[in-house]
Symmetry: C2
Subunit: 389 residues, 2 copies
């Protein structure tokens, strides 16, 4: 059994695991895996890591049933085997240990002994058999996606994903892969973020492949990419599951069902009135003024007049506030209301640097924000529904 | 009226305040004052700052009725007067403004206009007459206390103050001033922190002056001293109130009533069994082991045996954990139980540096912790009641 790969379930080791592992290696993998573990779960086994040891490797699995992460590190395996250990407790304990070797050994009644230096601990684990099956990365059919481009697309769209759990087709962002471009789009019905990256050669794609990726998976991918120097992420899927491989870590996510809305219909086509302002100035002005917006709606008013953008808000409780940014504008005056936090989300996502172009049609139509200094091969747009004010 | 001091209430200005003040100066004083303002108060006026302008100074007052702070900064006073402004909202707004001059003007209906650059805001204030009277610093009879020594005494005792509001005589620390020393002591009935500073000449003290200072006042004094280069704090009191002057800021606190317990009776006198360990080692060991303590009691066991200190804990949920620190010990073995978080509090307060001496009598008697490398003129001791384990 010890000669088959540890990642195939049929060969999953079941002996009385006994290993030695470096604290640094173990902590690095636990740090990656622990964010998948739900803090509050009603299913006790899901608070545990699955440890599997064989062939000089320790494989660590965490799952919340929707999302799973499987990662591994080098270990001295004295006895191959498997055990489960309370995830949070183990992570906190390993963090507090000094650098050095750590021995782990499965004892009777699923207890796991952890020894390091003059520290000796026994944690109460659970039976390995209770740990849910985690799907394996498919042997064929994966696409390679450039890691920095994907990470950028996630950061520019994830905040627009709906928080309403009942709107489950909006609880993720849509990834659109074509042979020479990719795009990501997210919406909550009130605003929509869309980013397209041209010039990405995607081998094996013909036509268009659309995939809805849940928010928690996107956040996890982003965090895994942030802690990795992997240039690519391998992406694959089957009927129920999405698979992402980053270095030696595999993230799997249950697919969201349902149809993502036809977002192309809402992209504005004739927002011909526009101003260009420094993102930092706009951010500061909105933050100041938004304090005086109605707390429930967060509504602020943007008024475009001869060479100025006036931002204002008022509420009976707090008072009223107004900020003026001077900027070229020569079209007819226009007044539109927006949820201030939606504007702030865009400015945060673009790092408050450079300039932003605000494009309008009229008070009843969606507004659009775009980076003014956007590069040619990245097209980013953010559409906001207006509010009556 | 404009020639009398603004700090005497009889001359409090009541006109339509109109001033200009530098944002940096204003923000510095608001930062000091805002921590006194209660976030959740059922008395609306207490969420406001009182602003009083006269004689080229703006005086700012905040109060929660128990604790008040009065501070001031330079201002260009066009019209002397007074107004009240929502504290949190103003503080957040001023923080977001760029550096520069800010104009404030009292309008009709207690609204206050705030102008800076191209920002224009009107906040809903309340009538100045509703703002509670804040006691004035007494003209005579103040003591000067060395600021660094006081701050150190607070940090070494404040954590031992009781959190149980019903035990109101334990909701503060006792300051004991003598002509050539001062001391501070705090207890919650389970542990007691006592620090004495010798060689402090306190003019005007004869015999012993004991003052119970509420926790919130201590925290505020500590924070005000941290942001000040004042060498001394002026301290005074009357029947109801404690007064502390730090630079041009005056903190007043309502006195706690009741008798502080006779703490001298509980100071251990024959804890002859002791070990000396590095504070950092002890902290790490306790933190590791305490994860496996019973969650409610936090109880850990200290076992002293031939040249080692063994720290252990166990609980049915989590498992068991043990750490051994090697250190000279040649007395009879002893086992004592303590609340781990009480030990951690002491180690935090002493900054986890240097060595700590743990002194015991037997399993039924209080233990004592002291810095091993304590200086001659500072005597610090921390007494912990044992737990049955």
């Amino acid at each position: 059994m010890s000669t088959t790969a540890v990642t195939t379930d049929t060969a999953a080791p079941t002996g009385n695991l006994e290993i030695t592992v470096s604290r640094a290696e173990l902590l690095r993998e636990l740090t990656a895996a622990q964010s998948v573990v739900e803090r509050k779960t009603t299913i006790p086994i899901l608070s545990n890591f699955l440890f599997e040891a064989a062939d000089d490797r320790l494989t660590i699995t965490a799952t919340d049933l929707d999302l799973s992460l499987r990662t591994s590190c080098i270990a001295k395996v004295k006895t191959s085997g498997a055990c489960t250990i309370p995830a949070r407790k183990l992570y906190d304990y390993i963090k507090l240990l000094p650098e050095g070797d750590i021995s782990l050994k499965l004892m009777d009644n699923h207890w796991v002994q952890i020894r390091a230096g003059r520290s000796n601990t026994k944690m109460v684990g659970m039976a390995r058999a209770n740990f849910p099956q985690v799907p394996e990365f498919p042997a064929i059919g994966a696409f390679k996606i450039a890691a920095p481009a994907l990470r950028n697309m996630i950061s520019k769209t994830i905040f627009a994903i709906s928080n309403e759990e009942s709107r489950y087709t909006l609880n993720g962002a849509l990834l659109v892969l074509k042979s020479e471009s990719m795009a990501m789009v997210a919406t909550d019905g009130h605003r929509l973020a869309h980013i397209e990256k041209l010039g990405e050669i995607l081998e094996g794609i013909s036509g268009e492949k659309k995939t809805l990726i849940p928010r928690k998976a996107l956040a996890e991918i982003s965090s895994l990419l942030g802690g990795s120097d992997a240039e690519h992420i391998e992406f694959s899927d089957d009927e129920q599951t999405l698979f992402f491989k980053i270095g030696n870590r595999v993230l799997t996510s249950r697919k969201l069902t349902g149809q993502f809305p036809n977002y192309e219909a809402v992209l504005p086509r004739d927002n011909t009135k526009f101003v260009i302002v420094r993102s930092e100035d706009l951010m500061k002005s909105i933050q100041r003024v938004a304090q005086f917006a109605d707390e429930r709606s967060g509504a602020i008013k943007l008024r475009l007049e001869q060479n100025e953008l006036k931002i204002s808000a008022q509420s009976t409780d707090a008072g009223e506030s107004e900020d003026i940014i001077e900027t070229p504008y020569n079209y007819d005056p226009i007044v539109v209301g927006f949820n201030s936090s939606y504007l702030i989300d865009y400015l945060r996502a673009t790092g408050e640097t450079g300039e932003v172009r605000l494009e309008f049609k009229d008070a009843q139509s969606a507004g659009q924000m775009r980076p003014e200094d956007g590069s040619d091969d990245v097209k980013y747009r953010y559409i906001l529904m207006p509010m009556r004010i």
